[in-house]
Symmetry: C2
């Protein structure tokens, strides 16, 4: 231990109460919070008499690696990837609860970094949103379970099922970048035994690969665009988390239509991957099938033209909605050719 | 494999879509659900313009063992232990979301059992409540993350901080039983290598130990009593999950009072432990320091006398609230003698 550095104790050394005493003050309180952390439950205002709710769990190993992600990244990503699901309904995020389970050997500074990541992400992407409750526990592999809430403020929720055959298809945000970042991590940030090398990650993030690395490790997602798109008349909307082809197919199926993507538009939304040095075909591949970018896929009535930028994110027209001919199944095309969605199945990705 | 039995496939064999196809129809829809599972997020009605929210994670190893609990038990317990936190605020549970992560080798029938446990518990303890969303994932150790919601229906939330020096202290439900059940499991339901023996659990549950075993594995908690107690004028209320002494100390601290417990009342609430054969001192010990019973500890104005039974659970007067003399710290006494709360600290229970 460095004599000059203050001792950074483990959770086992300080115990739960002291850990909470350091963790809770770092969290954003939230504008809609009536009762925050500390009682059996929290109380959150829901102005329009409904609330939007979504839940997601990130597990060490399956969803992140601690040698690649910092604790600040994990807090940030938990906010960025959960509140975008709230936004995709056309709601304004009001609050979230966070359950964190880690090994007792985890440093208190890690917990503080996680809390600061939550707070910084909320400040950047959803100011006014609060962390109203949570749960600390132990697990051999770190587990982050987030449930997020939003207020529709009188709007009808924007579902996946509302796309109409005359709509245009737009994308707010980008596609392919997070997958490109992950590829760099696998190629350049682990040793021969597949152990993450943190120093290599730092070098990658600071260098020319920075944009796609950040897209994977600490993405800025277009949370603020959700209500704006709903107010523009969005007929269907979803968060592109599993790949554009697969998520577009979900809209197609739910709405009973064909989503006709146009390569030029998709490539424009994949500009970061091209700028990262990918060949056009590889960039298109990442754009169609790479997940985790959390752009908003939205269908808007034909005459509606959104601004070129919404809530700080580029807006691209990437195609149109087409009717199904009799006997046709809902699906996705690119410049007229069928695109086969590639599923991500958590139970099949692992060989037994 | 038995030729007569149908094949019970694993999640790896059927994949996520088929698993969801079997899982989702078993879940209760809920009376307050506007948009249920299947979109980016759910939409739940919150009649009075606020909602109550609590979250908790159960982890295999730290919180349950699959050789002791069935999957039906886990679903049941997830409902019983989370909705009681909603009830302890004086709210009616409306909905919950459930994130479940399990090994890909898990059988589909396990997932179905878990869903039926959720549904049966809701039907028994909170009819009208719905499972509105969730998340399926993989983890080497099973992880159940539940977030539960409630409607205050115009009531002020009942906090821990409202107990007044003239109030009486009541308990709805029982104490000590879950700890007694756990003791039997450790003593009689594992082999020399500490591996759970499922057949021994079945024998224990069917026998004279049944009541305390059920209290540990599939508790019936007084969820329906929460709103009734709030309407009777409860000044403070909480769910007794970490032991009566510790949880009473939380009310004492938050309210700035002393909680003076009376042995006769506490023993009455521990009748199941006495009936299970424990000596009086051991029963008192379990009652004061055994956790996981999820009774409601409530303070009511002195003149208010609740019925002997609320929502099917016995009601016991277990003490009174006393003012603090100058210089006294908030705390808990039993028949006038100080009771030291024993903390359960997840980060210190594990030796490193």
């Amino acid at each position: 231990m460095d004599d000059a550095a203050p001792h950074d104790p483990t959770l086992h050394e300080v115990g739960e109460l002291e850990a909470l005493r350091r963790f809770l003050p770092l969290l954003p309180a939230g504008d809609a919070t009536d009762v925050g952390p500390g009682d059996d439950a929290a109380v959150v205002r829901a102005g329009d008499g409904r609330f939007v709710v979504t839940t997601d769990t990130m597990l060490e190993g399956a969803d992140f690696r601690l040698g690649w992600s910092t604790w600040h990244d994990l807090g940030w990503k938990a906010v960025a990837t959960n509140l975008i699901d709230v936004a995709a309904m056309g709601a304004r995020p009001t609050s979230l609860v966070v359950a964190l389970a880690v090994a007792p050997s985890t440093r208190v500074s890690a917990l503080e970094g996680f809390a600061r990541g939550l707070a910084d992400a909320v400040a950047a992407m959803a100011p006014g949103c609060g962390v109203v409750g949570g749960d600390l526990g132990t697990a051999p592999h770190a587990t982050v379970a987030v449930t997020a809430f939003g207020d529709l403020e009188g709007r009808a929720p924007v579902l996946r099922s509302g796309a109409r055959a005359t709509d245009a298809v737009w994308l707010v945000g980008r596609v392919g970048a997070a997958a490109a970042g992950l590829r760099h991590l696998f190629a350049q940030a682990q040793d021969e035994a597949a152990v993450p090398v943190a120093a290599a990650v730092e070098r990658l993030r600071a260098g020319a690969r920075g944009a796609v690395l950040e897209a994977q490790l600490a993405p800025v997602t277009p949370i603020g665009a959700g209500t704006l798109l709903a107010d523009l008349g969005a007929t269907a909307m979803l968060d592109v988390s599993d790949g554009l082809a697969l998520d577009a197919a979900r809209v197609a199926r739910a709405s009973g239509v064909r989503i006709a993507l146009e390569r030029a538009g998709v490539e424009a939304a994949a500009a970061d991957v091209l700028a990262d040095g990918a060949a056009p075909d590889a960039a298109l591949e990442a754009a169609l099938h790479g997940g985790e970018d959390h752009a908003l896929l939205v269908t808007l009535p034909d005459g509606v033209r959104p601004p070129a930028e919404l809530a700080g994110h580029r807006v691209h027209r990437i195609g149109r909605v087409e009717p199904l001919a009799a006997g046709d199944a809902p699906g996705v095309t690119l410049d007229g050719g069928a695109v086969e969605p590639r599923g991500w199945d958590p139970y099949r990705a692992v060989e037994l």
